[in-house]
């Protein structure tokens, strides 16, 4: 937040304030992440694409068949459950969902914040929602909200 205050001079009239702010928040987060990782293991921030691509290939098309009433099941989850599930997602997927679905930026705005192509935002958002449902389905099954299907 203080970075945003200090960077006020970089704000240009006509710019989407929310997008500008989210860009600063994201860069601050990445700076912190990089600093932590440099003390531990060096992991590229964009390496999740390969990892999660494998995860998606392993699960997509199977779990979604089990959502008989997605609105009802999703409504049963408390915000805390949603946040916990979001926290298990890779950082850039989580940021994409934060910007597109929670903060309601359009794809182009999110692309500018994340500094990636619009198409990548769309695919990450789609993939992220699937991954989120994957996590939530596991919880829903544990709580007996959905039946396990063979």
């Amino acid at each position: 937040m203080l970075k945003a205050m200090k960077a006020i001079d970089s704000f240009q009239e006509g710019t989407n304030v929310k997008a500008w702010l989210m860009t600063i928040l994201r860069r601050t987060f990445i700076d912190r992440l990089r600093a932590n990782r440099s003390r531990q293991h060096e992991v590229r921030l964009d390496s999740y694409d390969q990892v999660e691509g494998r995860e998606e290939a392993a699960t997509s098309g199977q779990l979604d068949d089990r959502w008989d009433n997605p609105e009802k099941i999703l409504d049963q989850f408390e915000d805390k459950d949603m946040v916990e599930a979001l926290k298990t997602l890779p950082d850039e997927i989580r940021w994409t969902l934060l910007l597109v679905d929670i903060e309601q930026l359009d794809y182009a705005g999110a692309a500018r914040v994340l500094e990636i192509p619009v198409g990548t935002v769309k695919s990450r958002a789609h993939r992220g929602r699937g991954m989120l449902r994957d996590r939530l389905f596991t919880k829903a099954r544990q709580r007996g909200w959905v039946e396990s299907k063979a």
Binding site: F11, E71, D79, M82, V83
Partner: protein, 226 residues
């Protein structure tokens, strides 16, 4: 095989559930204080420069209070009680009286306690404010802390009752006073008045457009007789 329609429905349901995270009331008191401090720290500038930046600065302040708290869901955790600011309570009041999507119709305090308990196993018992009609209830989360919200009606006026464990939600700074020897804290946001009383580790707020004293008496009468 699922159809494209069903996949679209899944996507829309997921998006809608995520979007609701942005409407969850958040305690912004700490951010407000930090922001005020930061803005106070901005060095005085020529008038033209102040005017030039005031609008975007105000915009940033507004967005900070919304977006940074959402970001806080991802980045920050804290065990200290959340402060029930006047903004937070007024927001809850407007949401509850507006018939939020999670509102469950109830007939009395017993049915409200039952509904709350099914969603929050360790929920504190709801008080039964004098002369009030129970309309609906819901369980909310504020920075991961559960709170119970109940819509009450008193002589045609809507009153929102917010109940939380004292370790989770604490009143903001306000005027400390008493009614019928019961101490309470009072504060307000615009036309919305709010009073907070504490009993047995539970904080109870009554929020509405009724005068402070009247709100406080609703609780003090109930706690005097129970």
């Amino acid at each position: 095989m699922r159809t494209d329609d069903f996949n679209d429905r899944l996507e829309q349901a997921t998006r809608a559930r995520l979007a609701r995270l942005a409407t969850t009331p958040q305690d912004t008191s700490r951010l407000e204080r930090q922001l005020e401090g930061a803005m106070t720290g901005v060095r005085p500038a020529p008038a033209s420069r102040v005017l030039r930046w005031w609008a975007p600065l105000a915009g940033v302040a507004a967005v900070l209070l919304v977006s940074a708290t959402i970001g806080g869901l991802f980045l920050v955790s804290n065990d200290a009680p959340v402060v029930a600011t006047s903004s937070l309570l007024a927001g809850l009041h407007h949401e509850v009286t507006g018939g939020g999507p999670f509102s469950i119709p109830v007939a009395d305090v017993d049915s409200a306690n039952h509904e709350i308990a099914t969603r929050w196993s360790n929920a504190p018992a709801l008080p039964n404010p004098a002369d009030c009609e129970f309309m609906s209830c819901c369980v909310h989360e504020v920075e991961g802390r559960k709170i119970a919200c109940v819509l009450l009606r008193l002589r045609g006026k809507s009153v929102t009752m917010v109940v939380a464990n004292s370790k989770d939600l604490t009143p903001a700074d306000g005027i400390e006073t008493t009614t019928n020897q019961h101490p309470y804290t009072r504060y307000a946001k615009g036309d919305v008045n709010m009073v907070c009383m504490q009993k047995n580790g539970t904080n109870v707020w009554l929020v509405g457009e009724l005068p402070h004293e009247e709100l406080a008496q609703l609780l003090s009468k109930e706690w005097t007789t129970s």
